[in-house]
Symmetry: C2
Subunit: 303 residues, 2 copies
């Protein structure tokens, strides 16, 4: 991720140039910081926050993206920010309670990937949700494509962090090699560290695992299957599958003697640590606006 | 479903005409039946069986369908038929044991809806599965689009039959109104009758249910959501969802005071009774060829 201070080692000439620039702009910077601290009325709009995230993340604007404003207006003044996976009714209510009015959500607001307006136009639930958002004056922006485009991918990084796997995680790689653990113990570790009630597993629970392909969320069968073919992991860990794709591929793969197992965490809980990490990443970049995370949580009971 | 005998009431003139035709063709028919019974060497090819299913089902040929031959050849002589949900390795092995060489499967053979050849061309599991099918001389035909096009939809009918809901099931309708039952008891009834280990539920387990929208399999978020909007059921019962679609729609719908609950059975086990019914439906139409069902079973363990 970009910061204003170069994070790579500087050679001597660069160091002198940077220091001179820094000295020359010190007064101005100091004044800016003071102004930000001394002016509680300093305001950010929704669009300002989006621009800041793109700038700080070193992200180029995408022309074809689902990361659009789903409710509220770009020029709306932000009173507080909440990150979450799904902007559920419970998350909206809690956002209101916290005095915040901007939800940055990783997933759709209206039950389909593109939040398509056509076939959902008369949907009763979407209508009521929009009415509630309007009543509370809460804006929603989806932070999905940009979120995965960060280096490191904020979701993967957040999950690796929460699972205590940062020493083994490498930016840009799905394969994480951890100390040897049984499939059963691995599933239990994921349940405990990511706060999950129940996971679905295909595999021998006594199997020894080291090589994990980590694909939280719902990357789709093609991505999941080709990742297994290239990573050759002991376990594929995902948020969600289409059962007729990855689950059947893993079942056949095992039946033909290959050990790759599958752990399905649940979509929401599998990526939640990423959006928690986004709050931690964003807060220091925004003076005077509270950024907090609200987990949307797994919706299921298991019977 | 079509039979040679008109099943609709006949007026008198039609009855006389039909009776005369029947008398005129009686000898010929008798001879045909005798020939079929007396000739154990009478052979059906894979294509013959497909043609018979389309004819007996009153189905018009589809130009754009996933129901194609996935392994084996159309002119292959059929020694026995197995119906199943997924032609897993275990199902292939059991088919071989039964002396059958034709699997009629509801779902894909190669882990994606269209059994696309391009990105799967070098897939290690697909390769080995095809080698095994070639070695055993087993053909696979997918019976999906045609299966749902039957009147009644063979999958829906089979599920309603297995759940003892035939008295309440109406051809062409997703809504089934049953005697009042709690959501918890309903989930338990489905587990027991459809032989399911664990189901996922969103809803109040004490809720009273009568109106069920029955959509086994994975009809997709759009179909599932629009069905709830039109049926206004107490419970939507599905095989599989994309969690960011139907699950979140149901979660928000409930949070806004509407009682519609969701039961997710698992894709495979939710449609299996349909393919079991297909075997029962097909057997009497094929003399001299055994048609049996092999359940492919749920692939998951729940931890």
């Amino acid at each position: 991720m970009n910061t204003n201070t170069p994070s790579l080692p500087l050679n001597r000439r660069e160091f002198i140039r940077y220091s001179a620039q820094a000295a020359g702009t010190a007064f101005l910077l100091l004044n800016t910081v003071n102004a930000a601290c001394a002016s509680p009325e300093k305001v950010f709009t929704v669009q300002d926050v989006i621009n800041l995230i793109l700038k700080e993340g070193g992200l180029s604007a995408l022309t074809n993206t689902v990361d659009t404003i789903k409710a509220g207006k770009p020029d709306q003044h932000v009173t507080g920010i909440v990150t979450t996976m799904f902007p559920t009714i419970a998350v909206i209510e809690e956002t209101k309670k916290r005095g915040a009015n901007f939800i940055i959500a990783h997933e759709p607001s209206f039950y389909n990937h593109t939040d398509a307006a056509d076939w959902m136009a008369n949907n009763s639930v979407q209508k009521k949700k929009l009415e509630l958002l309007n009543k509370y004056g809460i804006a929603i922006w989806r932070f999905h494509d940009y979120c995965h485009a960060l280096q490191p991918d904020a979701i993967l990084y957040g999950v690796a962090k929460k699972a205590n796997w940062l020493p083994y995680y490498q930016t840009g790689k799905t394969l994480v090699t951890i100390p040897q653990i049984s499939l059963k113990a691995l599933a239990q570790h994921l349940k405990a560290s990511l706060d999950i009630t129940t996971v679905r597993v295909i595999g021998n629970l006594e199997q020894s695992c080291k090589r994990l392909s980590l694909l939280p969320g719902a990357f789709g069968g093609r991505m999941q299957i080709t990742t297994v073919e290239s990573d050759q992991p002991d376990v594929l860990i995902v948020g969600e599958v289409s059962e007729w794709e990855t689950a059947e591929y893993i079942r056949d793969r095992q039946a033909m003697g290959n050990n790759t197992s599958l752990i399905i965490l649940g979509h929401c809980v599998s990526e939640e640590p990423g959006m928690e990490y986004v709050a931690d990443w964003l807060q220091p970049k925004l003076h005077g606006i509270a950024v907090s995370h609200i987990p949307s949580g797994d919706p299921f009971a298991w019977i």
